[in-house]
Symmetry: C2
Amino acid sequence: MKTVSENRSFGGTQGVYTHASDACGCDMTFGLFLPEEAEDGPVPLLWYLSGLTCTHENAMTKAGAQSWCAEHGIAIVFPDTSPRGEDVADDEAYDLGKGAGFYVNATQDPWAKHFKMWDYITDELPRVLGDTFAVDMGRQSITGHSMGGHGALTIAMHHPDRFRSVSAFAPIANPTESDWGKKQFKAYLGEADTEAWKAHDSALLMAERGFSGPVLIDQGDSDNFLDLLKPEALAEAMAAKRQDGIFRMQKGYDHSYFFISTFMEDHVTFHAEALYS
Amino acid sequence: MKTVSENRSFGGTQGVYTHASDACGCDMTFGLFLPEEAEDGPVPLLWYLSGLTCTHENAMTKAGAQSWCAEHGIAIVFPDTSPRGEDVADDEAYDLGKGAGFYVNATQDPWAKHFKMWDYITDELPRVLGDTFAVDMGRQSITGHSMGGHGALTIAMHHPDRFRSVSAFAPIANPTESDWGKKQFKAYLGEADTEAWKAHDSALLMAERGFSGPVLIDQGDSDNFLDLLKPEALAEAMAAKRQDGIFRMQKGYDHSYFFISTFMEDHVTFHAEALYS
């Protein structure tokens, strides 16, 4: 584990760390904010999964999460969105390959060798964090934006005993029916494995199993990508499943970090309520 | 206009009044809470439409709305849910006839003579209130419960210039597909007039036109009537329409006034924000 940087932030520490990832077969970098309370012992952990094209850095610098996490004494981790490095496969498109891991384990060439973001986020990185930092792995919640909202929701619904709450900003909600999903699932998972596709679709998972804790979804009505995100599929599934949750359509907001940062206080407060109950 | 009672309440006055209704062809009774501010001039008006079996009295005594309306300086009116009197048609069932006007204008016998609740709520009672009390008809919002949630949503979407915001507690959201709706629309509107049915279905109206202001929906996940209410149809339509709005599934809450009173503060605050903006 290499410390790239550590900065004082809201009484705590914003760190950036690099480690050799077995899951991804490359070095991986993440950001971790630890509030002041972590000096006295393990604190609850909130995961923030980022969207297409992002690294660990975008949300860390633009989402405005640290102030609210500091207020509630919560750590927040910002993982990268794909494997990195010169020998890692890539594509010219912004929405495939590097920066576009989609939080799945690729089974198809040329992606299968490194693109194991599901294992990285659900297995390897949690162990690294729990072994290295003052975070309480018994109190975790998860959120994310766009592709990361998809990741947060699918990971939470597959790990109901691990996460106390899940939220998402403008998630890719129904990827099996969207060009943000079909293209990537075909490339990473193969056209034939429709069961694997379904296992990574929030609207389908919500309809099938729901989530064990509370759910908060924010979606801007001026989001340029509404036709790709398909929020209506998730909203219907939540209501049909009687999911403990809130779905908010936010007038005038788009897909940017200006949207995310506006509602970050609500999301951190929402998770804090679950983490401290 | 006859004053049935007036009681001091939260610094204002909770009144009950009876008047001869032209629309319904009978005497109609309503409750009206005026906050203290109404002594100095017209105040904004919130409508609360009640559900099956209710009179003007249920919400007035059990919903706990007056304290929050007083806090925001808002009047709230509690109309009855059907025409009343010995010569008014009725049915043995609790969900047809008296106490079950469904906020439509009946065109079929024996209902057509008195059951004109749409006209009463959208035309006659507003004129009576505006002419008689210190209410500002330029600042109105509307809410309701169950059948009254259906009424609030359908009336708001047909009067976008009149209401600044609409909310509902466990509304009958898709009556054209529910036994709370099909039975009543058949009786009141006739089996053949499917256009009239559609004009009184919140989920269909939301999909077709949406609402011009913000929308707030609360639904309990332990509501005994979920299969009749069909909240998922409304949730999907709101998201698909990109409706400025919030849909909340409230864990553990049922269909009762204990549910309504719990979230009344949120609803009044929501409307106050629209009424004073």
